[in-house]
């Protein structure tokens, strides 16, 4: 557990190099493990992954609370479980 800015992070998954749709499968696996209200950090590649995964988790009712570009071009996305 750690914090990034104002958000406490309860679980992490690095999906760099993982294409669609397995990056969403891994994200859903991690979301299933945490409690409602807890925050998951996923690292997603630029391009289709950052386009698709946040949109899909929002569609399932979760909240994307932060999105930051990392120095290597990947994205850090913080998702609060519904």
């Amino acid at each position: 557990m750690s914090t990034t800015g104002k958000h406490r992070i309860d679980a992490r998954r690095d999906c760099r190099g993982v294409g669609c749709p397995m990056n969403l499968v891994y994200t859903k696996v991690e979301l299933a493990r945490i409690a409602p209200g807890e925050v998951l950090e996923v690292i997603l590649d630029d391009g289709a992954p950052i386009g698709n995964v946040p949109r899909s988790v929002v569609k399932e009712g979760h909240e994307v609370v932060a999105k930051h570009r990392l120095p290597d071009g990947a994205w850090q996305v913080l998702i609060r479980k519904a």
Binding site: P21, M22, V25, K28, A32, R33, S56, E60
Partner: protein
């Protein structure tokens, strides 16, 4: 919650991606126990789809052996299986698709004296039999044992299906009071059946099973779905529990299971 391996996550990824299934729904499938009655036209696709879906324990009830005339529609049986027990032939294909599941075989015909013992160990029953006595027996036994089930039948170009949740939704007897007299309906061999409609109806039953286990969507309860593949027309006829139903009504007169005399098999599992 079940911890899926990397290989399982890939195998079941298209289920896990569904918002209404997800990891939780896939875990429920792995823990579920489903009985498929009849490994014929309907049971064949049901067995294959349930195995592919990762339903953890699947039972098959069938005492018949594979005949060449089955192969036109009973797609889990291959030419090299002619003469084999249908339950074994189905099991072989199911495990080839998914070696992680357990398949129990019951080389029996369901009768009043064995049906409760067989269905008792399962969460859901798929009824894909080819005769009315078996259809009524499965209905009555499932109502008495409170085991949800999905009825299915096909003949010629037509099929019908309904899901029954005992104590909640209309049962088969709410719609069809008793079997037609023996020989009042044509036999499968007289009437014929378009092979592909076995897949259509069996797939509907498999989908109902997966929906029941995962909780996704709304079941085909209190309704009879019928289709006629000649015009590819589907109808959903609304039904309701009948107070005077002889098995699930307010004062049921049927309190023990009945072995009806075997007649024809109109709209049977073929």
């Amino acid at each position: 919650m079940i911890d899926f391996s990397e290989e399982q996550l890939q195998r079941y990824s298209r289920h896990i991606l569904l918002a209404d299934v997800g990891v939780e729904g896939q875990a429920r499938l792995a823990e579920a126990r489903v009985l498929v009655v009849g490994a014929g036209g309907l049971g064949a696709p049901v067995c294959l789809y349930l195995a592919a879906a990762g339903v953890g324990t699947i039972g098959i009830v069938d005492a018949d052996c594979v005949e060449i005339s089955n192969l036109q529609r009973q797609i889990c049986h291959f030419t090299h299986n002619i003469g084999d027990a249908k339950a074994d032939s189905a099991r072989e294909k199911m495990l080839a698709i998914n070696p992680e599941i357990t398949v129990n075989v019951h080389y029996e015909y369901l009768r009043a004296d064995n049906v409760l013992g067989i269905i008792g160990g399962y969460d859901f029953v798929v009824e894909g039999t080819d005769n009315f006595p078996a259809k009524f027996l499965v209905n009555d036994a499932c109502i008495m044992a409170k085991v949800p089930f999905c009825h299915g039948g096909i003949l010629r170009f037509r099929g019908q299906a309904m899901t029954v949740i005992p104590g909640e939704s209309a049962c088969y007897r709410c719609v069809f009071r008793e079997p037609p007299p023996p020989d009042a309906v044509p036999s499968c061999s007289e009437a014929g059946v378009l092979g592909a409609i076995a897949g259509m109806l069996g797939s509907i039953q498999a989908a109902e099973t997966l929906k029941f286990i995962t909780g996704a969507g709304r079941l085909l309860t209190d309704a009879l779905l019928t289709f006629d593949a000649k015009d590819m027309e589907f109808r959903k006829i609304p039904l309701s529990c009948q107070e005077d139903c002889p098995v699930c009504g307010e004062a049921p007169e049927i309190d023990s299971l009945i072995d009806y005399e075997q007649g024809g098999c109109a709209l049977a599992g073929a």
